[in-house]
């Protein structure tokens, strides 16, 4: 079924345009990395702040106020550039298990980010003072940063494992 979907997407006019213009994929991937950097560095800063080290000059709510809007913006660009790459090379993504793991973790992270940002904005005082901070805050920080690491790892792995899976499932390479 996945093969039919991939074939259908690869046959669309948009996919052809993306495949034929040589710079679309490299530029899209580069923008993707720029935004990965924004999201990953922000998440690391927030996570370590919650764990009690790093960014000690600012409160949790100040960090949320300055980092979250940029994270949302970068996430939007990540989804858009990821979509461009998927439309251009659907088979590469769909045959690779790392892609589906990555998508699952991305959904989890989107929910975690929105939940965390809203919780801090609703009651900043509770998150700013270490003694009143919710008990799960440290666990949240570890999962939050850990999942972003796993997402980056899976993202980079797709570029290496996809041709192996395409070969296993005897799918024709779309190109390259």
């Amino acid at each position: 079924m996945v093969r039919e979907w991939a074939g259908w997407i690869a046959d669309t006019r948009l996919s052809h345009v993306f495949q034929e213009i040589s710079w679309v994929i490299p530029v899209s991937q580069s923008m993707h990395i720029v935004c990965v950097a924004i999201v990953f560095a922000s998440a690391s800063m927030l996570g370590t702040r919650l764990l009690g080290f790093g960014a000690s000059g600012r409160t949790v709510s100040q960090l949320v106020g300055s980092l979250i809007p940029w994270m949302y913006g970068a996430l939007a660009v990540l989804l858009l550039t990821g979509l461009v790459q998927t439309i251009a090379e659907p088979l590469r993504q769909f045959v690779t298990p790392e892609f589906w793991w990555k998508m699952l973790m991305v959904i989890c992270e989107l929910l975690l980010t929105v939940w965390f940002a809203r919780a801090v904005r609703r009651d900043p005082g509770r998150w700013d003072a270490a003694p009143t901070r919710p008990k799960g805050a440290r666990l949240f920080a570890v999962v939050f940063v850990g999942l972003w690491v796993a997402i980056v790892v899976c993202g980079r792995l797709i570029g290496y494992t996809w041709s192996y899976y395409a070969w296993i499932f005897r799918f024709p390479a779309v190109h390259g």
Binding site: P26, V27, Q29, S30, I33, V34, V36, A37, I38, V39, F40, A41, S42, S44, M45, G54, A55, S56, G57, R58, Q62, S66, L67, W70, V149, V152, V153, R156, L157, Y160
Partner: protein
């Protein structure tokens, strides 16, 4: 006398580490693993630099003092930079000739050198009088220019870095 470049690149490629990363000893996954470390580290380098640059441009953290923000962020930048440089060095020696003569690789290092010069100019320029404008947002023109150049050059580093993967 300077030894010929080719000899130097050869000796790098002939090290045990280089042949292991190349996959000569059966560890085919070593290169991707080192590359993943490189990507995670460069994300922290660029992301942390961007936090300071955006403050210099008056686009973010407007209420934080510039000196305080850079003191908070710089340990991340340098720590991650050390990891990125080390992992990048390991990737380089595995195919030293290929990378050394690769145009995007050279442009990447040009961008990094210019980013370094830009940082030094800022450090010994407007930043010496930071106490006078620490809480101003946007800061003086010189600091804003330094912030903008830094963003552009580091985006250039990332684009060239990704471009290397398409040309080697």
């Amino acid at each position: 006398m300077i030894p010929p470049m080719g000899d130097f690149l050869n000796s790098l490629e002939q090290t045990t580490l280089a042949s292991m990363v190349r996959g000569d000893t059966g560890l085919e996954w070593l290169f991707p693993q080192v590359e993943i470390v490189h990507v995670l580290a460069l994300a922290l380098v660029f992301g942390s630099i961007l936090m300071v640059d955006l403050r210099l441009l008056g686009l973010n953290s407007r209420t934080s003092a510039v000196s305080r923000l850079s003191a908070e962020v710089l340990p991340w930048t340098w720590g991650a930079f050390a990891v990125a440089a080390l992992s990048g060095g390991v990737l380089f020696i595995s195919k030293a000739h290929t990378y050394f003569y690769n145009l995007p690789f050279r442009l990447k290092f040009l961008c990094m050198a210019l980013a370094g010069i830009n940082m030094l100019c800022f450090h010994f320029g407007d930043y010496r009088k930071v106490a006078r404008w620490d809480l101003r947002s946007p800061p003086p023109v010189g600091a804003r220019i330094a912030g903008l150049l830094s963003v552009l050059l580091w985006v250039g580093v990332i684009f060239c870095g990704r471009w290397i993967g398409f040309t080697t």
